[in-house]
């Protein structure tokens, strides 16, 4: 299956559309489901920010202004950077085993970063002002400013990298990919800095978060590649071929290593909190035995570290089933890791030390339905775009695939003016 002979944009898209619609009932059901989540979430976000006001619709407060949506944003962009890093191991640094996953990983990296942007776009009160004042009134000392700029570059680089990969333009894709890695790492450590440079927030303050975010990104990248590659096989209703299975097994090992790293990070973090100041002790108690205990022990440690690590060990670096399950658990759990990190940093009232009546209890946060729907908008975008991507690019198969047809079209487009293309399409039967 490929594009029509004339290889035009519209022809190619029509063909891709045909492939999407012939995807079978299960495929179409999930595609519809994710699209519905996306629409519902975007509607919920618009309703929250522009109609009723975020103060009424979202669970954030003056005391906990950053919560589930910021956590979701970090979840997506950390995943995106991770995918970019993991994809680079093969197609940039030439590790054979990591090569087969490169294209899919880069596309997923674009998709997840876009999902992150979508969620933060529905979180900001005045996103349009950002577009103007990010450039007209920059603040170079602000991590959020750098975040905006670095991620804007990052998304362009990722898209270029993907196009060059499709075109099999090796040098160009390596160049874009290398820059993508640099910007990705800068962006993600800076994202850690958004929290880590707030001197008034002891739980966040310090060099821990930027480093932790980079390690998390690698873990998330591995988990996402494994998770989505296995799902892609289901989409195409075929088994993993030998080369891909080997590749996933190798990525599974890297995931195991990163899990170990994250576990040690977490252990040392808890030890360090235990000898920290009042705020840190309060947060540690909240995590270990307070309102966050279930999230911490069950979702973060149990489902996110111990179980996946055991599964990866059990897989003996070969069986894909347990590796897939471990990846799914890591992805699920890391959402709560982000959420707890963001919220726990704000639960201790800033005037706690004064011992005043007004601030004698820890602040609490619980998400609203509006927030949950916006999170699902991000999930919907990722899910739907992944499913579409698989059909459009026909599973990124190496030979005679739609990817290369698209590549042909892209090449043609680069050579001929678009009007000529259009003429061709119109003239085609």
């Amino acid at each position: 299956m490929g594009c029509p002979e004339n290889s035009s944009w519209t022809g190619c898209l029509k063909d891709a559309g045909r492939r999407v619609f012939s995807g079978g009932p299960v495929y179409l059901f999930f595609l519809g489901l994710f699209a519905a989540l996306l629409v519902a979430g975007v509607a919920a976000g618009i309703h929250s920010v522009y109609i009723v006001g975020s103060r009424h619709a979202y669970g954030t407060t003056r005391e906990i202004p950053l919560a589930m949506l910021i956590a979701t944003y970090t979840f997506f962009v950390i995943t995106s950077t991770g995918l970019c890093l993991v994809s680079s191991i093969g197609h940039i640094f030439g590790v054979e085993r990591f090569m087969p996953i490169a294209k899919r990983a880069v596309l997923l990296s674009v998709i997840t970063i876009m999902s992150g942007f979508l969620v933060i776009g529905l979180e900001l009160e005045n996103p349009l002002r950002l577009a103007v004042y990010l450039f007209c009134s920059p603040n170079f000392t602000s991590n959020i400013w750098w975040m905006g700029v670095l991620y804007a570059f990052e998304v362009v680089l990722l898209i270029l990298e993907f196009i060059f990969l499709l075109l099999d333009k090796h040098k160009a894709s390596v160049a874009a990919g290398l820059l993508g890695i640099l910007f990705g790492i800068a962006a993600i450590s800076n994202l850690g800095g958004v929290f880590a440079m707030l001197n008034g927030r002891e739980f966040w303050y310090g060099p821990y978060l930027p480093i932790f975010f980079i390690a998390s990104a690698l873990l998330m990248g591995c988990a996402a590649v494994i998770f989505f590659t296995v799902l892609a096989c289901r989409v195409h209703r075929e088994g993993l071929d030998g080369r891909m299975a080997e590749s996933l097994a190798a990525i599974g090992k890297l995931a195991g290593l990163m899990l170990a790293v994250i576990m040690f990070f977490t252990i040392w973090r808890m030890v360090a909190l235990a000898v920290g100041g009042t705020h840190e002790l309060l947060v540690r108690d909240a995590l270990v035995s307070g309102p966050f205990a279930f999230n911490f022990w069950a979702l973060e440690v149990g489902l996110g570290m111990i179980l996946p690590f055991a599964l990866i060990l059990w897989s003996a670096g070969k069986r894909i089933g347990p590796i897939f399950l471990a990846s799914a658990l890591v992805i699920f759990s890391s959402f709560f890791v982000r959420l707890d990190m963001v919220v726990a940093g704000q639960i201790v009232p800033l005037y706690w030390e004064l011992g005043v009546r007004e601030y004698s209890k820890l602040h609490a946060y619980s998400p609203t339905w509006h927030e949950i729907l916006v999170v699902l908008a991000g999930v919907g975008l990722t899910g739907a775009a992944f499913l579409l991507g698989e059909k459009v690019f026909q599973g990124f198969r190496e030979v005679e695939d739609a990817g290369s047809h698209f590549a042909e079209v892209l090449e043609d487009a680069a050579q001929e003016p678009p009007s000529a293309e259009k003429g061709k399409v119109d003239g085609s039967p």
């Binding site: 202004p65 002002r129 004042y133 000392t141 602000s142 959020i144 958004v194 007004e358």
Partner: protein
């Protein structure tokens, strides 16, 4: 706080060159205001004397002119909260937000008075974390008077400044479509020629003293630069270098 390294070195080498007057001024501040603040070239710390400080009289070194500040004589507060009402009325503060609060501490074991009231507001920090964090300079420190102000039309509502402020002094104001905070009533009073803030004007117990710290004749200057009573600031370890001072009496 930026101290020219040259000055520092010079001073560490020749401590005897520091004038007696400077030394006294410095000791006062260093001793009574444990770990004071201040931007520009003022420096002062708990264990004072042997630490570095710049040349010249301290008053000349306050970085803003006028260098607005507020001294809160905390033990005089009776908790009537008229200051809060005055602030709300002057600055159209909505019911869901606040620019200033009066916090209440109970001390059951204390002899005599068992409650203490602590007014809080934006500290107009000399090293304001909110200003550093804002991506679009929607919040900025006025180069003349040092008040941390808002440029509402720029605020994207990211709320990172809310998280950055160590004093919980900011909230998102729906009506303004921007974050709102205390501006020492600059917009509603000072810029119109008045000399006081609404909270100060409303206080029946003369708890809040507002004025220009760079003017040796001002009340705030005298309240801060004296040895008899302790003067302190809140959360000094966050290094925001606040301009709200607390004292008693």
């Amino acid at each position: 706080m930026i101290i020219k390294s040259l000055d520092k070195e010079k001073m560490m080498k020749n401590p005897e060159k520091i004038s007696e007057m400077d030394r006294r001024e410095f000791l006062k501040i260093g001793l009574v205001i444990t770990g004071v603040f201040a931007g520009g070239s003022i420096v002062s710390v708990a264990s004072a004397a042997e630490k570095i400080f710049p040349n010249g009289s301290i008053a000349e070194k306050y970085p803003y002119r006028p260098h607005y500040c507020m001294v809160i004589r905390v033990d005089r507060c009776i908790g009537c909260r008229r200051c809060v009402e005055g602030c709300v009325a002057a600055n159209a503060v909505p019911s869901y937000g606040w620019r200033t609060l009066v916090l209440e501490r109970e001390a059951r074991q204390a002899i005599g008075q068992k409650r203490e009231f602590i007014p809080v507001l934006c500290n107009q920090c000399n090293n304001p974390p909110c200003v550093r964090a804002c991506p679009v300079t929607a919040t900025y420190k006025d180069p003349q008077n040092g008040i941390v102000m808002m440029d509402n039309k720029k605020c994207i509502g990211c709320k990172i400044c809310l998280a950055a402020c160590p004093y919980d002094a900011r909230y998102y104001n729906e009506e303004r479509g921007a974050v709102d905070k205390c501006d020492f009533c600059f917009e509603t009073r000072l810029s119109r020629g008045e000399k006081s803030t609404a909270c100060q004007a409303a206080c029946p117990a003369d708890v809040r003293v507002f004025g220009d710290l760079s003017d040796p004749r001002s009340r705030v200057y005298r309240l801060v630069h004296q040895l008899q009573k302790p003067v302190w600031v809140l959360k000094k370890d966050t290094d925001a270098k606040p301009n709200i001072f607390y004292t008693k009496g």
